[in-house]
C-alpha cells in the first residue's frame, strides 16, 4: 500500500493512522515482524525520527511490541486489532455523518440514502 501524507496535519499522527490501517487490513498480520524504522521511513519518504515517534505511539497503544534484539512485531492479540479496527470504522462513520449533516441531511435521510445507493450499485 502506498503512503499518502497530507501537508497540513502532523506527520507522525498521519503515520500512526496509516500503520494502523496496514495492521488491521492484514498488510502486517498479527504476530508478524515489522520492517525496521529506516526501511519504513524510506518507504514513506519521511524522516526516521518521525517514523520512530509513530511506532512509539503504536507501542504505547499496545498494537505493536518490541522484542529487545530482533525488532518490532504486531501484537498477537486479535482482540486488540479488532478493537482498533472498530475505532477506525467509528471514526469514519462520525466523519461521514458530520459531512452529511453539513449538507443538510438528517440521520434518517442519510440511512435511507445509504440503502438506496447501495442497491443501485448492485
Amino acid at each position: 500500500m502506498a503512503w499518502s501524507l497530507q501537508s497540513d496535519r502532523p506527520l507522525y499522527a498521519q503515520l500512526v493512522g496509516q500503520l494502523q490501517r496496514m495492521i488491521v487490513t492484514g498488510v502486517y498480520p498479527a504476530g508478524s515482524r515489522l520492517p525496521s524504522v529506516r526501511e519504513l521511513a524510506a518507504e514513506a519518504a519521511v524522516n526516521p525520527n518521525t517514523m520512530q515517534r509513530a511506532l512509539v505511539k503504536l507501542e504505547e497503544d499496545g498494537l505493536i511490541f518490541t522484542q529487545r534484539t530482533s525488532g518490532r512485531y504486531v501484537t498477537e492479540e486479535q482482540e486488540k486489532i479488532m478493537e482498533t479496527k472498530k475505532e477506525m470504522a467509528e471514526q469514519l462513520i462520525f466523519q461521514f455523518m458530520e459531512d452529511m449533516s453539513y449538507l443538510g441531511y438528517t440521520k434518517e435521510q442519510t440511512m435511507t440514502m445509504i440503502n438506496r445507493t447501495e442497491e443501485k450499485s448492485k
Partner: protein, 232 residues
C-alpha cells in the same frame, strides 16, 4: 553529548550589509534541520561560518564543540552553493580525489549512488549539464560518513525525480548520530523529511520549531506558514 552546532550572538557583516545579525541557536545531533529563508536572508553566510569559510565578526560559534578549523572540517561535509571542483576531471577522478582528502569517504557508496542515478564515472565534469554536475557534487558530499552535513540548496537545480532520489539518500544514508542542515526555499519538497525548521530573515532567527509542532499548533504546512511569514 554536546550539540553539533552551538552559537551565541553570532554576527557577520559585509560592507553595507549585516548578513548575520546576532544568531543564537543550538542544533542537536541526529536531526534533519531545514534552514529556511527568502533570498539574501543569510542562509549561505551562516553555513559558511559553520564551515570556517568565513570568520565571525563577533559572537561565538562551536561545531562539534570546537571553533571551525581543520578538526571540524574532518567531521563536516559541505555542499556549497557553487561548484569548486576541477572541470577537467571525470567522476572517477573526483571520487579518488575525495577519497584522498577525507578519511571518512566511502567509495563503494559513491559508486552505488552513481549507478543508481545512471551517471557515467568516465564523464568529465566540463561536459555535464548543470543539474548533472549538482548530482555529482551531492554524491561526493553524501558519500562521507560525517557528523554534520551542511547542504546549501541541494535540490534547486535538479529534476523532480532526482529530487526524490536525493531526499531518499538523505534520509537513508546519513549517520544515525549525524545531523543534516539543509538550506533551501523549496520547502514543500523537503518538509516531510525534516525534523526541525529554522526560519531566518535579515540575518536573524524568526522562528525555530519542529515540523510536527508547527503543523499541530498552526494546522498548516511549513510551506504555507513560510508564505505567510515572508509575504512580500
Amino acid at each position: 553529548m554536546t550539540p553539533i552546532i552551538e552559537c551565541c550572538d553570532l554576527v557577520k557583516t559585509f560592507p553595507g550589509c549585516r548578513a548575520v545579525g546576532g544568531i543564537s541557536l543550538q542544533v542537536p545531533r541526529g536531526r534533519i534541520v531545514g534552514l529556511l529563508g527568502p533570498n539574501g536572508s543569510g542562509k549561505s553566510t551562516f553555513l559558511k561560518l559553520c564551515n570556517g569559510l568565513l570568520t565571525p565578526d563577533s559572537g561565538q560559534l562551536l561545531v562539534n564543540g570546537r571553533t571551525p578549523g581543520v578538526e571540524t572540517k574532518k567531521v563536516v561535509s559541505y555542499l556549497p552553493d557553487r561548484t569548486y571542483l576541477n572541470n577537467w576531471m571525470n567522476v572517477a577522478q573526483l571520487i579518488r580525489f575525495f577519497q584522498d582528502f577525507y578519511a571518512d569517504f566511502d567509495t563503494a557508496r559513491a559508486y552505488d549512488m552513481l549507478h543508481r542515478l545512471n551517471l557515467d564515472p568516465m564523464q568529465k565534469l566540463k561536459t555535464m549539464s548543470k543539474g548533472t554536475k549538482e548530482k555529482v557534487q551531492l554524491i561526493l558530499v553524501m558519500s562521507r560518513r560525517a557528523q554534520l552535513y551542511l547542504l546549501d540548496e541541494p535540490i534547486g537545480g535538479v529534476d523532480p525525480a532526482a529530487r526524490d532520489f536525493i531526499l531518499h539518500t538523505i534520509i537513508t544514508n546519513y549517520n544515525q548520530e549525524g545531523t543534516v542542515l539543509i538550506s533551501t526555499h523549496l520547502i514543500a519538497d523537503v518538509e516531510n523529511v525534516l525534523d526541525d525548521v529554522i526560519f531566518i530573515n535579515g540575518g536573524t532567527i524568526v522562528l525555530s520549531d519542529s515540523v510536527d509542532n508547527i503543523r499541530d499548533k498552526q494546522g498548516k504546512s511549513v510551506d504555507t506558514l513560510f508564505r505567510e511569514v515572508f509575504r512580500c
